[in-house]
Point group: C2
Amino acid sequence: MRIEILCTGDEILTGKTINTNHSHMARRFGEVGLTMHWGTTVGDDRESLVEAFRLAAKRADAVIVNGGLGPTVDDLSQEVAAQAAGVDLVLNEDWLARMEDFYTRRGRAMPSNNKKQAMLPAGSEFIDNPVGTACGFAITIDGARFFFTPGVPREMRRMIDDQVIPRLLKMSGLKVVTRLKRFHSFGVGESRADQMLDGIEKLVPDGTVKLGFQAHYPQLETKLAAQAASEEELDALLAPIEAGVRERLGNFIVAEDAQSLEGVVIDALVARGGTLATGEMYTGGAIAARFVPKEGAADPFLRGVVSRELSQMHDAVGLGAKAEGAGLNAETAMALASGLRTQSGASHALAVLIELDDGADRIEFGGTINVGIADEAGTIARTARMLGGRDWVRLGATELAIDCLRRRLQGLPVDERIDFEKR
Amino acid sequence: MRIEILCTGDEILTGKTINTNHSHMARRFGEVGLTMHWGTTVGDDRESLVEAFRLAAKRADAVIVNGGLGPTVDDLSQEVAAQAAGVDLVLNEDWLARMEDFYTRRGRAMPSNNKKQAMLPAGSEFIDNPVGTACGFAITIDGARFFFTPGVPREMRRMIDDQVIPRLLKMSGLKVVTRLKRFHSFGVGESRADQMLDGIEKLVPDGTVKLGFQAHYPQLETKLAAQAASEEELDALLAPIEAGVRERLGNFIVAEDAQSLEGVVIDALVARGGTLATGEMYTGGAIAARFVPKEGAADPFLRGVVSRELSQMHDAVGLGAKAEGAGLNAETAMALASGLRTQSGASHALAVLIELDDGADRIEFGGTINVGIADEAGTIARTARMLGGRDWVRLGATELAIDCLRRRLQGLPVDERIDFEKR
């Protein structure tokens, strides 16, 4: 089945807004086994829209139109859809009532131009939008099925997942229940992960689970996209392959699905009634910022210290006299972690020092990272050399430090070699 | 003149990579007065490319093709361009020699498949790429001028600015020298800035300077895109309008062009031999992270302290006993700044406290921000209430705090009302 995405709007065409809607929709389609064929972007311009609809209808079986469903005069999607399908616009009374209710409950009167959002092409299929005033609809134009979706990302995402993908899967004859299982890892590059998981799809019947990767340096996301006839089948299908991924990627998996590395660390601390203090040199506050709590989440973070001068670091953790002669090494990282723990009263302290190379920033530019952790059982250190330029080393050091703490909390070895370090 | 952007590549079509190249190119075109007409995205697929070239040639006067110039078999741009133009591919000896030299200087032998990158359609115009191995070229297909550019963003950006835009301006008959003047402000929303600058384009002849805005909350970028026959004319043209923007936006301008707010603060500190210490509560290290120095830049930042417990903050700045009874208010912010300054030995200290509303995160969720600054002249405070949800308040507090320090260093009032605060 040929699928095309047609994004409308001057903001997208002129580059004022980056088109993240195309990439989100296309990625979701790929994850459920649907294949993208073409993408088009046009402005809020009647002539271009008419031509874009005509061309897409000729090329594709299904066309997802995004944007142009708002209340203002430059929102033309319904009108051009009706014109292209050769039908009139008719009022959808139900949607008008829903919109009026939406405003009434917020103590406001609905502006009259919102009525336009309830005018749909005659004979079109209504598509619900539970989180906004732009409803979607589907209509057949020249043999292709067109799905109209709102440009607001939050509304689009919900509609694509809940309404559009099931319809596309039905059209394509693909099995209709889908699930996306995600593993977040640190320390394994995409090509090695690919090797480590080689052949894992063969644990299940052909084509039912698709393995994919998305690198967000320094983390790697490993995705299993599965399709089956029911949720129970999905469970049964995914169980062996999920277990396989966990076994093969092992200690490198830092979190799964909506979890984050820092969330896993926070949960592990909270579970044992622990608290945390951090000390950072060249990561400049990036580690502390990762522990800003989510709404309603527990907050075991007690104190963070940031400095690029070792004497300031020593002074800030109450080791003023001991700075003399200390170098940017594992011993100093352990001493700082220990001092920080004592001074803040935290159960766990994490200190990160980086000795950066001299000279101009470049791809071969590196740094030696020293991570020190102090807890009730003692102090440990981890040293790693990373390359890739200043920003790359800083990002890697932030992740390495937080991951060392995760490993310490989970009783795993903290010195397991990672792909990003050079020895 | 009708301009079309045609982005090629499976990564872009399937959403694995977000298409920032389209938005960058389109924005740059708009800034020099060129108008976008259409955007297309297709995969690394011969049939789709042929069809996309055919359609674009019919619609547009100029087509910018991005991607597909690499050395591998799925890079098809040169080949499909030659096919569409009805010519053969011929070896560009100069480019081959440049590539070989590029590898030799790095002590490596050029892989043989790179030779493909020097095969250009016969009769095409060579376009230089000084920063990569994918050269560009231009060729006329069915009456439209096609410009082929590399997919690597850094290479594409350079080629668009240095090579493609001058050619497009020449084609369009527009004046050929362009400049983009940028002002970064904090505290003024886009609609009020629009009002404040109303009519400012009338200071210069019609159509020669275009005013635009780009909001990156909490900052707003005000852009003047100018065209003239020469650099001297540009200087003369922009002088009155630049002066007008500086006068009207006044103290809200935090930086211009490639400068940043934190860069301006660092420069002001360094100019007076000053140093900085920071203390943060709910901004969680975001302020310290802004002062991570650029390569080769001076680094007056001495120490940062992060905590969400007031007692930890007090303890960390050496005011242990004074925490009792202290509230999240201006007095406490000043006391913390003062303690931080004494303890770190910095000439300037900045402390930021936020008292967040209770309850679930929502758009009306707010916080009261207290900024304290201590320097050789004494201590001052600034209090502001902001709404918009947790993340919004946190971003606003970070910017407000750094901007207060800028104002203090520049001798400007720190309590000028900003659009984002509620009183």
